[in-house]
Amino acid sequence: MVTGVIAAQALHLPHVNYTTIMPELILLGGMLVLLLVSALFKKGLPRDFYASAVVGIGAASLIASLVLYHDVAAHGSFTAIAHSIDVDGFSVLFLTLVSCITIVYPFFAHAYMQREGFEGVEFFALPLISGAGAMFMASANDLILIFLGLEILSIPLYVMAGMDQRRETSGEAAMKYFIMGAFSSAIFLYGMALTYGATGSLNLAEISAFLSKNYVFGNGVLLAGMGLLLVGFLFKIAAVPFHFWSPDVYQGSPTVATGFMAAIAKAGAFAALIRVFMASFPTLASDWQPLLWVVIVLTTLFGAVVALVQKDIKRMLAYSSINQAGFILLGLQSDTSKGIGASLYYVFIYSFLILGTFAIVAIAGAKGDAIHNIDDLKGYAKSHPFLATSLAIFLVSQAGAPFTTGFLAKLQVITAAVEAHSYALAVIAMVSAAIATGFYLRVVYVMFSEGTGTKNALSSGKEIYSLSPLGKLNISPWLFTGIVLCLSVTVLFGFWPQPLVDFATHARLLFR
Protein backbone atom coordinates (compact mmCIF):
# COMPACT_ATOMS: atom_id res chain seq x y z
CA MET A 1 0.00 0.00 0.00
CA VAL A 2 1.26 3.41 -0.84
CA THR A 3 1.15 5.96 1.90
CA GLY A 4 3.19 8.56 0.15
CA VAL A 5 1.35 11.82 0.13
CA ILE A 6 3.97 14.47 -0.31
CA ALA A 7 3.64 16.98 2.46
CA ALA A 8 3.09 20.53 1.39
CA GLN A 9 6.20 22.50 2.19
CA ALA A 10 6.96 26.15 2.05
CA LEU A 11 8.96 26.89 -1.07
CA HIS A 12 12.54 27.77 -0.21
CA LEU A 13 14.47 29.26 -3.06
CA PRO A 14 18.14 28.35 -2.87
CA HIS A 15 20.75 31.03 -2.57
CA VAL A 16 22.15 31.60 -6.04
CA ASN A 17 25.82 32.42 -6.18
CA TYR A 18 26.07 33.88 -9.66
CA THR A 19 29.85 33.87 -9.88
CA THR A 20 29.84 30.06 -9.91
CA ILE A 21 27.88 30.00 -13.17
CA MET A 22 29.34 33.19 -14.61
CA PRO A 23 30.94 31.57 -17.72
CA GLU A 24 27.60 30.00 -18.67
CA LEU A 25 25.76 33.27 -18.03
CA ILE A 26 28.24 35.20 -20.17
CA LEU A 27 27.77 32.84 -23.11
CA LEU A 28 23.95 32.83 -22.86
CA GLY A 29 23.69 36.55 -22.16
CA GLY A 30 26.12 37.35 -24.96
CA MET A 31 24.10 35.19 -27.32
CA LEU A 32 20.87 37.06 -26.44
CA VAL A 33 22.49 40.46 -26.89
CA LEU A 34 23.97 39.37 -30.21
CA LEU A 35 20.58 38.20 -31.49
CA LEU A 36 18.87 41.36 -30.26
CA VAL A 37 21.43 43.70 -31.81
CA SER A 38 21.33 41.88 -35.12
CA ALA A 39 17.53 42.09 -35.15
CA LEU A 40 17.64 45.87 -34.72
CA PHE A 41 19.34 46.32 -38.09
CA LYS A 42 17.22 45.60 -41.11
CA LYS A 43 20.04 44.22 -43.21
CA GLY A 44 21.91 42.63 -40.35
CA LEU A 45 25.48 43.46 -39.42
CA PRO A 46 28.73 42.55 -41.14
CA ARG A 47 30.31 39.17 -40.47
CA ASP A 48 33.35 40.86 -38.97
CA PHE A 49 31.19 42.28 -36.21
CA TYR A 50 29.56 38.95 -35.36
CA ALA A 51 32.84 37.07 -35.35
CA SER A 52 34.59 39.68 -33.20
CA ALA A 53 31.63 39.72 -30.81
CA VAL A 54 31.78 35.94 -30.36
CA VAL A 55 35.53 36.09 -29.80
CA GLY A 56 34.93 38.78 -27.18
CA ILE A 57 32.18 36.80 -25.46
CA GLY A 58 34.40 33.71 -25.44
CA ALA A 59 37.28 35.74 -24.00
CA ALA A 60 35.00 37.13 -21.26
CA SER A 61 33.88 33.63 -20.29
CA LEU A 62 37.51 32.48 -20.35
CA ILE A 63 38.35 35.22 -17.85
CA ALA A 64 35.37 34.22 -15.68
CA SER A 65 36.57 30.59 -15.81
CA LEU A 66 40.07 31.61 -14.77
CA VAL A 67 38.64 33.62 -11.88
CA LEU A 68 36.83 30.48 -10.76
CA TYR A 69 40.06 28.54 -11.19
CA HIS A 70 41.77 31.01 -8.89
CA ASP A 71 38.94 30.56 -6.35
CA VAL A 72 39.30 26.80 -6.43
CA ALA A 73 43.07 26.94 -6.18
CA ALA A 74 42.84 29.27 -3.19
CA HIS A 75 39.87 27.83 -1.26
CA GLY A 76 39.40 24.29 -2.54
CA SER A 77 36.40 22.85 -4.33
CA PHE A 78 32.85 23.53 -3.19
CA THR A 79 29.24 23.12 -4.31
CA ALA A 80 26.81 25.95 -4.93
CA ILE A 81 23.17 26.68 -5.71
CA ALA A 82 21.55 23.99 -3.54
CA HIS A 83 24.41 21.55 -4.26
CA SER A 84 23.53 21.34 -7.95
CA ILE A 85 26.71 23.04 -9.22
CA ASP A 86 30.17 21.70 -8.50
CA VAL A 87 33.05 24.14 -8.57
CA ASP A 88 36.25 22.11 -8.59
CA GLY A 89 39.37 21.70 -10.68
CA PHE A 90 37.52 19.32 -12.96
CA SER A 91 34.70 21.71 -13.84
CA VAL A 92 37.09 24.65 -14.17
CA LEU A 93 39.20 22.71 -16.66
CA PHE A 94 36.17 22.13 -18.86
CA LEU A 95 34.91 25.72 -18.47
CA THR A 96 38.30 26.85 -19.74
CA LEU A 97 38.30 24.34 -22.58
CA VAL A 98 34.80 25.29 -23.76
CA SER A 99 35.65 28.99 -23.59
CA CYS A 100 38.72 28.32 -25.76
CA ILE A 101 36.65 26.38 -28.31
CA THR A 102 34.19 29.30 -28.40
CA ILE A 103 37.07 31.70 -29.04
CA VAL A 104 38.62 29.66 -31.86
CA TYR A 105 35.43 28.67 -33.69
CA PRO A 106 34.36 32.13 -35.05
CA PHE A 107 37.69 32.51 -36.88
CA PHE A 108 36.84 29.46 -38.97
CA ALA A 109 33.14 30.25 -39.24
CA HIS A 110 33.94 33.72 -40.57
CA ALA A 111 36.22 32.39 -43.31
CA TYR A 112 33.72 29.69 -44.24
CA MET A 113 30.79 32.10 -44.48
CA GLN A 114 32.83 34.59 -46.45
CA ARG A 115 33.65 31.96 -49.04
CA GLU A 116 30.13 30.57 -49.26
CA GLY A 117 28.56 34.03 -49.25
CA PHE A 118 26.36 33.24 -46.25
CA GLU A 119 24.91 36.02 -44.14
CA GLY A 120 23.24 35.95 -40.77
CA VAL A 121 23.91 35.73 -37.10
CA GLU A 122 22.74 32.15 -36.50
CA PHE A 123 26.03 30.48 -37.33
CA PHE A 124 27.65 32.58 -34.60
CA ALA A 125 24.85 32.57 -32.00
CA LEU A 126 24.08 28.83 -31.95
CA PRO A 127 27.59 27.75 -30.84
CA LEU A 128 27.30 30.04 -27.82
CA ILE A 129 24.20 28.12 -26.66
CA SER A 130 25.96 24.81 -27.27
CA GLY A 131 28.96 26.02 -25.31
CA ALA A 132 26.79 26.96 -22.33
CA GLY A 133 25.22 23.49 -22.44
CA ALA A 134 28.64 21.82 -22.42
CA MET A 135 29.66 23.99 -19.46
CA PHE A 136 26.53 23.01 -17.52
CA MET A 137 27.27 19.34 -18.20
CA ALA A 138 30.79 19.76 -16.86
CA SER A 139 29.87 21.60 -13.67
CA ALA A 140 26.58 19.86 -12.84
CA ASN A 141 26.32 17.89 -9.64
CA ASP A 142 22.80 16.77 -10.39
CA LEU A 143 21.45 14.41 -13.04
CA ILE A 144 18.63 16.81 -13.98
CA LEU A 145 21.16 19.53 -14.71
CA ILE A 146 23.31 17.12 -16.72
CA PHE A 147 20.25 16.19 -18.80
CA LEU A 148 19.38 19.85 -19.36
CA GLY A 149 22.99 20.60 -20.29
CA LEU A 150 22.97 17.69 -22.72
CA GLU A 151 19.90 19.10 -24.46
CA ILE A 152 21.16 22.69 -24.46
CA LEU A 153 24.35 21.32 -26.03
CA SER A 154 22.65 19.12 -28.61
CA ILE A 155 19.67 21.07 -29.92
CA PRO A 156 21.72 23.93 -31.48
CA LEU A 157 24.04 21.31 -33.00
CA TYR A 158 21.09 19.68 -34.82
CA VAL A 159 20.31 23.05 -36.38
CA MET A 160 23.96 23.75 -37.25
CA ALA A 161 24.18 20.37 -39.01
CA GLY A 162 21.36 21.45 -41.32
CA MET A 163 22.45 25.05 -41.96
CA ASP A 164 23.68 24.50 -45.51
CA GLN A 165 20.37 24.65 -47.36
CA ARG A 166 21.87 24.20 -50.82
CA ARG A 167 23.10 20.69 -50.22
CA GLU A 168 20.48 18.03 -49.59
CA THR A 169 23.04 16.04 -47.62
CA SER A 170 23.16 18.77 -44.97
CA GLY A 171 19.45 18.38 -44.21
CA GLU A 172 19.87 14.64 -44.15
CA ALA A 173 22.70 14.96 -41.65
CA ALA A 174 20.54 17.21 -39.47
CA MET A 175 17.68 14.71 -39.50
CA LYS A 176 19.88 11.73 -38.69
CA TYR A 177 21.64 13.64 -35.94
CA PHE A 178 18.32 14.80 -34.52
CA ILE A 179 16.67 11.36 -34.50
CA MET A 180 19.70 9.60 -33.02
CA GLY A 181 20.40 12.43 -30.58
CA ALA A 182 16.82 12.53 -29.30
CA PHE A 183 16.80 8.72 -29.08
CA SER A 184 19.96 8.71 -26.97
CA SER A 185 18.62 11.51 -24.75
CA ALA A 186 15.47 9.48 -24.10
CA ILE A 187 17.57 6.43 -23.18
CA PHE A 188 19.66 8.60 -20.88
CA LEU A 189 16.50 9.98 -19.26
CA TYR A 190 15.09 6.53 -18.58
CA GLY A 191 18.43 5.56 -17.05
CA MET A 192 18.14 8.62 -14.84
CA ALA A 193 14.63 7.62 -13.74
CA LEU A 194 15.73 4.09 -12.82
CA THR A 195 18.79 5.37 -10.95
CA TYR A 196 16.53 7.75 -9.05
CA GLY A 197 14.22 4.89 -8.16
CA ALA A 198 17.07 2.70 -6.91
CA THR A 199 18.92 5.34 -4.91
CA GLY A 200 16.25 7.90 -4.04
CA SER A 201 18.15 10.91 -5.31
CA LEU A 202 19.25 12.68 -8.44
CA ASN A 203 22.17 14.43 -6.78
CA LEU A 204 25.46 12.80 -7.74
CA ALA A 205 26.99 13.12 -4.27
CA GLU A 206 23.85 11.78 -2.59
CA ILE A 207 23.72 8.82 -4.98
CA SER A 208 27.31 8.02 -4.09
CA ALA A 209 26.62 8.43 -0.35
CA PHE A 210 23.58 6.15 -0.58
CA LEU A 211 25.54 3.48 -2.45
CA SER A 212 28.44 3.52 -0.04
CA LYS A 213 26.12 3.15 3.00
CA ASN A 214 23.70 0.61 1.61
CA TYR A 215 24.18 -2.65 -0.13
CA VAL A 216 21.44 -2.68 -2.76
CA PHE A 217 20.03 -6.16 -2.57
CA GLY A 218 19.04 -7.51 -5.98
CA ASN A 219 20.22 -4.33 -7.66
CA GLY A 220 18.76 -5.02 -11.11
CA VAL A 221 17.05 -1.61 -11.33
CA LEU A 222 20.22 0.19 -10.30
CA LEU A 223 22.36 -1.68 -12.83
CA ALA A 224 19.81 -1.11 -15.57
CA GLY A 225 19.75 2.59 -14.74
CA MET A 226 23.52 2.85 -14.74
CA GLY A 227 23.74 0.87 -17.98
CA LEU A 228 21.22 3.12 -19.74
CA LEU A 229 23.06 6.24 -18.55
CA LEU A 230 26.25 4.75 -20.00
CA VAL A 231 24.53 3.95 -23.31
CA GLY A 232 23.25 7.53 -23.51
CA PHE A 233 26.77 8.89 -23.06
CA LEU A 234 28.33 6.39 -25.47
CA PHE A 235 25.87 7.53 -28.13
CA LYS A 236 27.00 11.14 -27.65
CA ILE A 237 30.71 10.35 -27.85
CA ALA A 238 30.10 7.95 -30.76
CA ALA A 239 31.63 4.80 -29.28
CA VAL A 240 31.08 1.47 -31.02
CA PRO A 241 28.38 -0.03 -31.08
CA PHE A 242 26.56 3.31 -30.80
CA HIS A 243 28.58 5.11 -33.46
CA PHE A 244 26.56 4.47 -36.64
CA TRP A 245 25.17 8.01 -36.89
CA SER A 246 28.48 9.81 -36.73
CA PRO A 247 30.05 9.20 -40.20
CA ASP A 248 26.86 10.36 -41.94
CA VAL A 249 26.49 13.40 -39.71
CA TYR A 250 30.16 14.38 -40.01
CA GLN A 251 30.03 14.03 -43.78
CA GLY A 252 26.77 15.88 -44.36
CA SER A 253 27.14 18.84 -41.99
CA PRO A 254 28.83 22.07 -43.09
CA THR A 255 32.51 21.25 -42.49
CA VAL A 256 33.17 24.06 -40.03
CA ALA A 257 30.11 23.02 -38.01
CA THR A 258 31.42 19.43 -38.04
CA GLY A 259 34.66 20.56 -36.42
CA PHE A 260 32.82 22.50 -33.72
CA MET A 261 30.40 19.64 -33.13
CA ALA A 262 33.21 17.10 -32.80
CA ALA A 263 35.05 19.29 -30.30
CA ILE A 264 32.21 20.53 -28.11
CA ALA A 265 30.02 17.41 -28.03
CA LYS A 266 33.01 15.29 -27.01
CA ALA A 267 34.08 17.80 -24.36
CA GLY A 268 30.61 18.02 -22.80
CA ALA A 269 29.78 14.33 -23.00
CA PHE A 270 33.15 13.18 -21.63
CA ALA A 271 32.96 15.72 -18.80
CA ALA A 272 29.56 14.44 -17.69
CA LEU A 273 30.46 10.78 -18.29
CA ILE A 274 33.61 10.98 -16.17
CA ARG A 275 31.90 12.94 -13.44
CA VAL A 276 28.86 10.66 -13.18
CA PHE A 277 30.92 7.47 -13.07
CA MET A 278 33.66 8.78 -10.79
CA ALA A 279 31.41 10.75 -8.43
CA SER A 280 28.31 8.55 -8.27
CA PHE A 281 29.23 5.00 -9.16
CA PRO A 282 32.75 4.40 -7.80
CA THR A 283 31.38 1.56 -5.66
CA LEU A 284 30.02 -0.15 -8.78
CA ALA A 285 33.35 -0.03 -10.65
CA SER A 286 33.48 -3.81 -10.87
CA ASP A 287 30.24 -3.64 -12.87
CA TRP A 288 31.04 -0.86 -15.33
CA GLN A 289 34.72 -1.57 -15.92
CA PRO A 290 34.12 -4.82 -17.92
CA LEU A 291 31.46 -3.03 -20.01
CA LEU A 292 33.90 -0.26 -20.85
CA TRP A 293 36.60 -2.84 -21.57
CA VAL A 294 34.47 -4.35 -24.36
CA VAL A 295 33.46 -0.92 -25.67
CA ILE A 296 37.08 0.28 -25.82
CA VAL A 297 38.28 -2.80 -27.70
CA LEU A 298 35.47 -2.46 -30.24
CA THR A 299 35.81 1.32 -30.54
CA THR A 300 39.57 1.55 -31.04
CA LEU A 301 39.85 -1.36 -33.46
CA PHE A 302 36.69 -0.73 -35.46
CA GLY A 303 37.40 3.00 -35.81
CA ALA A 304 40.95 2.43 -37.00
CA VAL A 305 40.21 -0.40 -39.44
CA VAL A 306 37.17 1.18 -41.09
CA ALA A 307 38.91 4.55 -41.42
CA LEU A 308 41.59 2.83 -43.54
CA VAL A 309 39.18 2.13 -46.39
CA GLN A 310 37.41 5.51 -46.51
CA LYS A 311 37.65 7.63 -49.64
CA ASP A 312 35.98 10.74 -48.22
CA ILE A 313 38.20 12.64 -45.82
CA LYS A 314 35.28 13.76 -43.62
CA ARG A 315 34.12 10.16 -43.21
CA MET A 316 37.68 9.13 -42.51
CA LEU A 317 37.95 11.76 -39.79
CA ALA A 318 34.63 10.57 -38.33
CA TYR A 319 36.01 7.04 -37.94
CA SER A 320 39.28 8.46 -36.67
CA SER A 321 37.40 10.38 -33.99
CA ILE A 322 35.61 7.14 -33.03
CA ASN A 323 39.08 5.62 -32.58
CA GLN A 324 40.21 8.58 -30.47
CA ALA A 325 37.09 8.31 -28.27
CA GLY A 326 38.21 4.79 -27.41
CA PHE A 327 41.55 6.16 -26.22
CA ILE A 328 39.90 8.78 -24.04
CA LEU A 329 37.71 6.06 -22.47
CA LEU A 330 40.89 4.12 -21.69
CA GLY A 331 41.77 6.60 -18.94
CA LEU A 332 38.32 6.33 -17.35
CA GLN A 333 38.36 2.54 -17.56
CA SER A 334 41.53 2.34 -15.46
CA ASP A 335 39.51 3.96 -12.62
CA THR A 336 42.61 5.63 -11.14
CA SER A 337 43.17 9.33 -10.59
CA LYS A 338 46.11 9.14 -12.99
CA GLY A 339 43.84 7.68 -15.67
CA ILE A 340 41.29 10.46 -15.20
CA GLY A 341 44.02 13.09 -15.49
CA ALA A 342 45.19 11.43 -18.72
CA SER A 343 41.65 11.43 -20.14
CA LEU A 344 41.18 15.10 -19.30
CA TYR A 345 44.46 16.00 -20.97
CA TYR A 346 43.43 13.98 -24.02
CA VAL A 347 40.03 15.69 -24.34
CA PHE A 348 41.66 19.09 -23.95
CA ILE A 349 44.25 18.74 -26.72
CA TYR A 350 41.97 16.74 -29.03
CA SER A 351 39.48 19.62 -29.22
CA PHE A 352 42.07 21.90 -30.78
CA LEU A 353 43.34 19.20 -33.13
CA ILE A 354 39.90 18.41 -34.49
CA LEU A 355 38.90 22.09 -34.84
CA GLY A 356 42.04 22.84 -36.84
CA THR A 357 41.76 19.71 -38.96
CA PHE A 358 38.18 20.36 -40.00
CA ALA A 359 38.91 24.06 -40.65
CA ILE A 360 41.53 23.13 -43.25
CA VAL A 361 39.35 20.38 -44.69
CA ALA A 362 36.64 23.02 -45.06
CA ILE A 363 38.98 25.28 -47.02
CA ALA A 364 40.16 22.41 -49.21
CA GLY A 365 36.51 21.61 -49.92
CA ALA A 366 36.37 24.72 -52.14
CA LYS A 367 33.28 26.82 -52.69
CA GLY A 368 30.21 24.67 -52.21
CA ASP A 369 31.93 22.63 -49.51
CA ALA A 370 31.68 19.51 -51.65
CA ILE A 371 35.18 18.34 -52.69
CA HIS A 372 36.20 15.99 -49.95
CA ASN A 373 37.78 13.01 -51.66
CA ILE A 374 41.20 12.28 -50.27
CA ASP A 375 42.59 12.03 -53.81
CA ASP A 376 41.49 15.60 -54.52
CA LEU A 377 44.22 16.75 -52.16
CA LYS A 378 46.95 15.68 -54.57
CA GLY A 379 49.49 18.44 -55.02
CA TYR A 380 47.97 20.42 -52.16
CA ALA A 381 51.37 20.97 -50.57
CA LYS A 382 52.65 22.65 -53.71
CA SER A 383 49.71 24.99 -54.19
CA HIS A 384 49.16 25.68 -50.49
CA PRO A 385 52.26 24.90 -48.47
CA PHE A 386 51.03 26.58 -45.27
CA LEU A 387 47.65 24.85 -45.19
CA ALA A 388 49.08 21.47 -46.19
CA THR A 389 51.82 21.64 -43.57
CA SER A 390 49.35 22.65 -40.88
CA LEU A 391 46.98 19.81 -41.80
CA ALA A 392 49.94 17.41 -41.78
CA ILE A 393 50.88 18.56 -38.27
CA PHE A 394 47.31 18.12 -37.01
CA LEU A 395 47.11 14.65 -38.54
CA VAL A 396 50.43 13.33 -37.27
CA SER A 397 49.60 14.74 -33.86
CA GLN A 398 46.35 12.75 -33.89
CA ALA A 399 48.42 9.74 -34.87
CA GLY A 400 50.56 10.37 -31.79
CA ALA A 401 53.83 11.65 -33.23
CA PRO A 402 56.46 12.87 -30.75
CA PHE A 403 56.84 16.62 -30.14
CA THR A 404 53.12 17.14 -30.63
CA THR A 405 50.39 17.08 -28.01
CA GLY A 406 49.00 13.82 -29.34
CA PHE A 407 52.06 11.82 -28.32
CA LEU A 408 51.87 12.59 -24.63
CA ALA A 409 48.09 12.10 -24.65
CA LYS A 410 48.37 8.57 -26.03
CA LEU A 411 51.34 7.79 -23.81
CA GLN A 412 49.50 8.89 -20.67
CA VAL A 413 46.30 6.91 -21.24
CA ILE A 414 48.24 3.77 -22.17
CA THR A 415 50.51 4.15 -19.11
CA ALA A 416 47.40 4.53 -16.95
CA ALA A 417 45.97 1.33 -18.44
CA VAL A 418 49.22 -0.54 -17.82
CA GLU A 419 49.41 0.69 -14.23
CA ALA A 420 45.85 -0.54 -13.68
CA HIS A 421 47.07 -3.96 -14.91
CA SER A 422 44.88 -4.01 -18.03
CA TYR A 423 47.75 -5.18 -20.22
CA ALA A 424 45.55 -6.70 -22.91
CA LEU A 425 43.69 -3.44 -23.29
CA ALA A 426 46.92 -1.44 -23.55
CA VAL A 427 48.24 -3.78 -26.25
CA ILE A 428 44.99 -3.61 -28.23
CA ALA A 429 44.98 0.19 -28.00
CA MET A 430 48.57 0.35 -29.24
CA VAL A 431 47.76 -1.96 -32.15
CA SER A 432 44.86 0.29 -33.11
CA ALA A 433 47.13 3.33 -32.87
CA ALA A 434 49.55 1.63 -35.26
CA ILE A 435 46.72 0.93 -37.72
CA ALA A 436 45.51 4.51 -37.35
CA THR A 437 48.93 5.85 -38.30
CA GLY A 438 48.31 4.28 -41.72
CA PHE A 439 45.34 6.43 -42.66
CA TYR A 440 46.71 9.65 -41.17
CA LEU A 441 49.94 9.26 -43.10
CA ARG A 442 48.05 8.37 -46.27
CA VAL A 443 46.48 11.83 -46.33
CA VAL A 444 49.86 13.45 -45.68
CA TYR A 445 51.41 11.37 -48.47
CA VAL A 446 48.69 12.36 -50.94
CA MET A 447 49.08 16.04 -50.10
CA PHE A 448 52.83 16.01 -50.60
CA SER A 449 52.82 13.89 -53.76
CA GLU A 450 53.14 15.36 -57.24
CA GLY A 451 50.26 16.07 -59.56
CA THR A 452 46.97 17.83 -59.17
CA GLY A 453 43.70 16.52 -57.77
CA THR A 454 40.84 15.87 -60.14
CA LYS A 455 39.17 19.17 -59.31
CA ASN A 456 41.93 20.88 -57.48
CA ALA A 457 40.42 22.34 -54.46
CA LEU A 458 42.42 25.46 -54.49
CA SER A 459 41.47 27.15 -57.69
CA SER A 460 38.26 28.51 -56.25
CA GLY A 461 39.78 29.24 -52.87
CA LYS A 462 42.27 31.62 -54.49
CA GLU A 463 39.68 33.80 -56.17
CA ILE A 464 37.85 34.34 -52.94
CA TYR A 465 40.80 35.22 -50.78
CA SER A 466 43.04 37.06 -53.20
CA LEU A 467 41.79 40.37 -51.79
CA SER A 468 42.97 39.62 -48.31
CA PRO A 469 46.04 41.35 -46.90
CA LEU A 470 47.65 37.95 -46.56
CA GLY A 471 47.35 37.52 -50.28
CA LYS A 472 50.44 35.40 -50.53
CA LEU A 473 48.91 32.70 -48.38
CA ASN A 474 45.64 32.92 -50.30
CA ILE A 475 43.66 32.68 -47.11
CA SER A 476 41.74 35.22 -45.08
CA PRO A 477 43.38 36.74 -42.00
CA TRP A 478 40.58 35.28 -39.83
CA LEU A 479 41.32 31.77 -41.00
CA PHE A 480 45.05 32.31 -40.65
CA THR A 481 44.68 33.47 -37.03
CA GLY A 482 42.44 30.52 -36.16
CA ILE A 483 44.82 27.98 -37.63
CA VAL A 484 47.80 29.59 -35.91
CA LEU A 485 45.94 29.43 -32.58
CA CYS A 486 45.25 25.69 -32.96
CA LEU A 487 48.75 25.03 -34.27
CA SER A 488 50.44 26.86 -31.43
CA VAL A 489 48.49 24.85 -28.85
CA THR A 490 49.46 21.64 -30.62
CA VAL A 491 53.14 22.40 -31.10
CA LEU A 492 53.82 24.53 -28.02
CA PHE A 493 52.32 22.05 -25.58
CA GLY A 494 53.96 19.25 -27.55
CA PHE A 495 57.38 20.63 -26.68
CA TRP A 496 56.46 22.05 -23.29
CA PRO A 497 53.61 19.91 -21.94
CA GLN A 498 54.10 20.63 -18.24
CA PRO A 499 51.54 23.44 -17.76
CA LEU A 500 48.74 21.49 -19.43
CA VAL A 501 49.65 18.27 -17.62
CA ASP A 502 49.63 20.18 -14.34
CA PHE A 503 46.24 21.65 -15.20
CA ALA A 504 44.80 18.19 -15.85
CA THR A 505 46.51 16.77 -12.76
CA HIS A 506 45.16 19.60 -10.66
CA ALA A 507 41.71 18.85 -12.01
CA ARG A 508 41.77 15.33 -10.70
CA LEU A 509 43.25 16.36 -7.35
CA LEU A 510 40.50 18.77 -6.46
CA PHE A 511 37.85 16.49 -7.86
CA ARG A 512 36.34 14.69 -4.92
Binding site: V2, T3, I6, Q9, V159, G162
Partner: protein, 101 residues
Protein backbone atom coordinates in the same frame (compact mmCIF):
# COMPACT_ATOMS: atom_id res chain seq x y z
CA UNK B 1 -7.77 0.93 -2.76
CA UNK B 2 -4.56 1.92 -4.43
CA UNK B 3 -2.56 0.27 -7.15
CA UNK B 4 0.95 -0.94 -6.32
CA UNK B 5 3.82 1.09 -7.85
CA UNK B 6 5.13 -1.97 -9.65
CA UNK B 7 2.17 -1.77 -12.04
CA UNK B 8 3.07 1.75 -13.05
CA UNK B 9 6.71 0.79 -13.42
CA UNK B 10 5.80 -2.16 -15.63
CA UNK B 11 3.55 0.07 -17.71
CA UNK B 12 6.32 2.61 -18.19
CA UNK B 13 8.82 -0.11 -19.12
CA UNK B 14 6.35 -1.40 -21.72
CA UNK B 15 5.76 2.11 -23.08
CA UNK B 16 9.52 2.70 -23.29
CA UNK B 17 10.02 -0.57 -25.15
CA UNK B 18 7.24 0.28 -27.58
CA UNK B 19 8.98 3.60 -28.22
CA UNK B 20 12.36 1.96 -28.83
CA UNK B 21 10.96 -0.73 -31.11
CA UNK B 22 8.82 1.78 -32.97
CA UNK B 23 11.76 4.07 -33.58
CA UNK B 24 13.83 1.20 -34.92
CA UNK B 25 11.25 -0.37 -37.24
CA UNK B 26 8.96 2.45 -38.43
CA UNK B 27 10.11 4.47 -41.45
CA UNK B 28 7.83 7.50 -41.24
CA UNK B 29 9.78 10.33 -39.67
CA UNK B 30 6.74 11.77 -37.90
CA UNK B 31 5.98 8.39 -36.33
CA UNK B 32 9.63 8.16 -35.24
CA UNK B 33 9.23 11.54 -33.56
CA UNK B 34 6.13 10.26 -31.76
CA UNK B 35 8.10 7.22 -30.59
CA UNK B 36 10.70 9.52 -29.04
CA UNK B 37 7.90 11.36 -27.23
CA UNK B 38 6.61 8.01 -25.99
CA UNK B 39 10.04 7.16 -24.58
CA UNK B 40 10.31 10.51 -22.81
CA UNK B 41 6.84 10.12 -21.31
CA UNK B 42 7.61 6.58 -20.16
CA UNK B 43 10.58 8.04 -18.27
CA UNK B 44 8.26 10.70 -16.83
CA UNK B 45 5.85 8.06 -15.55
CA UNK B 46 8.76 6.26 -13.89
CA UNK B 47 9.86 9.49 -12.25
CA UNK B 48 6.40 10.25 -10.89
CA UNK B 49 5.89 6.70 -9.62
CA UNK B 50 9.19 6.64 -7.77
CA UNK B 51 8.64 10.14 -6.49
CA UNK B 52 5.41 9.01 -4.85
CA UNK B 53 6.83 5.73 -3.59
CA UNK B 54 9.91 7.42 -2.10
CA UNK B 55 7.92 10.40 -0.81
CA UNK B 56 10.45 12.73 -2.44
CA UNK B 57 9.62 15.77 -4.54
CA UNK B 58 12.64 15.92 -6.84
CA UNK B 59 11.31 13.24 -9.19
CA UNK B 60 8.23 15.34 -9.87
CA UNK B 61 10.36 18.41 -10.42
CA UNK B 62 12.36 16.49 -13.03
CA UNK B 63 9.17 15.85 -15.00
CA UNK B 64 8.59 19.57 -15.55
CA UNK B 65 12.08 19.98 -16.97
CA UNK B 66 11.55 16.98 -19.24
CA UNK B 67 8.29 18.45 -20.56
CA UNK B 68 10.09 21.66 -21.53
CA UNK B 69 12.94 19.74 -23.16
CA UNK B 70 10.48 17.57 -25.10
CA UNK B 71 8.72 20.67 -26.42
CA UNK B 72 12.02 22.24 -27.50
CA UNK B 73 13.07 19.03 -29.21
CA UNK B 74 9.81 18.80 -31.14
CA UNK B 75 10.14 22.40 -32.34
CA UNK B 76 13.61 21.79 -33.77
CA UNK B 77 12.75 18.32 -35.06
CA UNK B 78 9.66 19.46 -36.95
CA UNK B 79 11.63 22.41 -38.30
CA UNK B 80 14.27 20.10 -39.71
CA UNK B 81 11.64 17.75 -41.14
CA UNK B 82 9.79 20.62 -42.84
CA UNK B 83 13.07 21.95 -44.27
CA UNK B 84 13.91 18.57 -45.80
CA UNK B 85 10.53 17.42 -47.03
CA UNK B 86 9.38 20.68 -48.56
CA UNK B 87 10.70 19.27 -51.82
CA UNK B 88 9.36 15.78 -51.35
CA UNK B 89 5.94 14.18 -51.38
CA UNK B 90 6.26 11.84 -48.43
CA UNK B 91 8.02 12.03 -45.09
CA UNK B 92 9.66 8.62 -44.93
CA UNK B 93 13.17 8.05 -43.69
CA UNK B 94 14.01 5.87 -46.70
CA UNK B 95 13.87 8.90 -48.97
CA UNK B 96 16.83 10.34 -47.13
CA UNK B 97 19.69 8.15 -48.26
CA UNK B 98 22.34 10.21 -49.99
CA UNK B 99 24.97 9.79 -47.30
CA UNK B 100 26.45 6.38 -47.84
CA UNK B 101 29.89 5.09 -48.61
Amino acid sequence: MSIAPSWYLTLSAVLFSIGVIGLLIRRNVLVMLMCIELMLNAANLTFVTYSRALNDISGQAAVFFVLVVAAAEVVVGLGIIVAIFRRKAEATADDVHLLKE
